[in-house]
Assembly symmetry: C2
Homo-oligomer: 242 residues x 2
């Protein structure tokens, strides 16, 4: 079966956030990723595959040509299947445990990696400033490798949220307390900032604990860690003794 | 001044490893990156810029049109300058301290991030299997953010090297010893594997210490960490008490 022009237009429009909002749909690619979303709480909408022998049990499944798959895929090498799911209603923030909060993280690969890290370290809630990249961006979905089905992601006014919450607020900066020598609590908010500019000064004012990952290089030093690798190290420090 | 066809062809050919080898050149983009390489031990060859007001002190500098810059740039938004440097002779492996060894890491972004991590954690030597992505790939140069000028990267027959060296060899696998409870030495080789397949079995046979980063998620679990974030956590564990 061939994709109609209308269907093609709908699916390719989902690359853009405004059309994802309008249609309340996002896309997942690849056999493994689609399987994970089918097994999750996410509401399934439609599946398109170039392989007539797979996902036979799925209703609303359309077999399409390799050529049509290429047209709707965001991957260099499309992997047999694209599925559409409903964007769920956002959860409500539960103010306990460890929470990761992102201030204007722009890169989809970084957000995807951070979602995977939250999943690995058992962080249930990831709070994003309104202008952090959308977690239903296809590149984020791809990079998060199914962890998106297990971590609750909430977009909110980060300034307002941090003003209201009583939890301790941690920020990783260049001249804070050595993270290896800091007693890290089981509850709190770990704030990570934008790739180029770090955490905004308005947010830094609300921070209660400033920490630093020490550098070990001796000569000219690398200026900063990538936000995703810094998140990995900070989460490791918070959880390693828990 | 406009780029000649010959120059254009030379520069764009540097996207491919075989032409980088042939011409013994690689490219660096962006003001900050180019400045870091100019200040390094790397031998400068030529600089091309669309901004006649910058890098005035540099010899062999050509001012080109925005349009020509677009043609030679690998960035979505070219950043004013592309510079060519000579690929240096590889250093010789010095068998002491902590060494990171990569077995078939394919993704340029991952290699770039790992180079940055080595720089941050003061790891002087990064040993790569012959089929690990080339560190002079423009995407690796971009992702490594100048750390490439400070870390010695050596491509070698990894199997043979590991057979010969007496240093302890650490591999991160799914069912090894809990890394948080392992006494980690100041000298040794930290082996990280391919994005999809991990470390090859031939290499695993040579490993002396198998370690694991514990997972904290409770329910369905994320299967693995990205190789760059796993490297971040492992290096952090090796260095935090040093």
């Amino acid at each position: 079966m061939s994709l109609s022009k209308v269907q093609l237009k709908l699916i390719t429009s989902l690359l853009q956030k405004k059309y994802r909002k309008k249609h309340n749909l996002f896309m997942v690619e690849g056999i493994k990723g689609v399987q994970e979303f089918l097994n999750s709480k996410f509401e399934f909408f439609q599946l398109l595959t170039s392989d007539a022998s797979i996902f036979l049990e799925v209703e609303n499944r359309i077999v399409i040509s390799e050529n049509d798959l290429k047209k709707i895929s965001n991957l260099k090498t499309p992997n047999k299947v694209v599925a559409l799911f409903r964007i769920p209603e956002e959860d409500i923030i539960v103010n306990n445990g460890l929470i990761v909060a992102l201030d204007e993280v722009n890169d989809p690969g970084n957000l995807g990696t951070i979602i995977r890290l939250c999943d690995w370290f058992g962080i249930d809630q990831l709070i994003c400033s309104k202008n952090t990249v959308d977690c239903f961006n296809p590149k984020v979905v791809q990079a998060s490798m199914g962890s998106l089905t297990r971590v609750s992601i909430i977009y909110t006014d980060l300034d307002k949220y941090l003003q209201q919450t009583k939890l301790p607020k941690f920020a990783t900066i260049m001249d804070g307390e050595n993270i290896y020598k800091t007693k890290l609590p089981k509850e709190g908010i770990i704030i990570m900032g934008n790739e180029a500019n770090g955490i905004r000064s308005e947010i830094l004012k609300l921070v209660t604990n400033k920490i630093t990952i020490p550098r070990f290089g001796e000569f000219q030093k690398t200026e900063s860690l990538n936000v995703a690798t810094a998140t990995a190290i900070v989460l490791n420090e918070f959880k390693r003794n828990s």
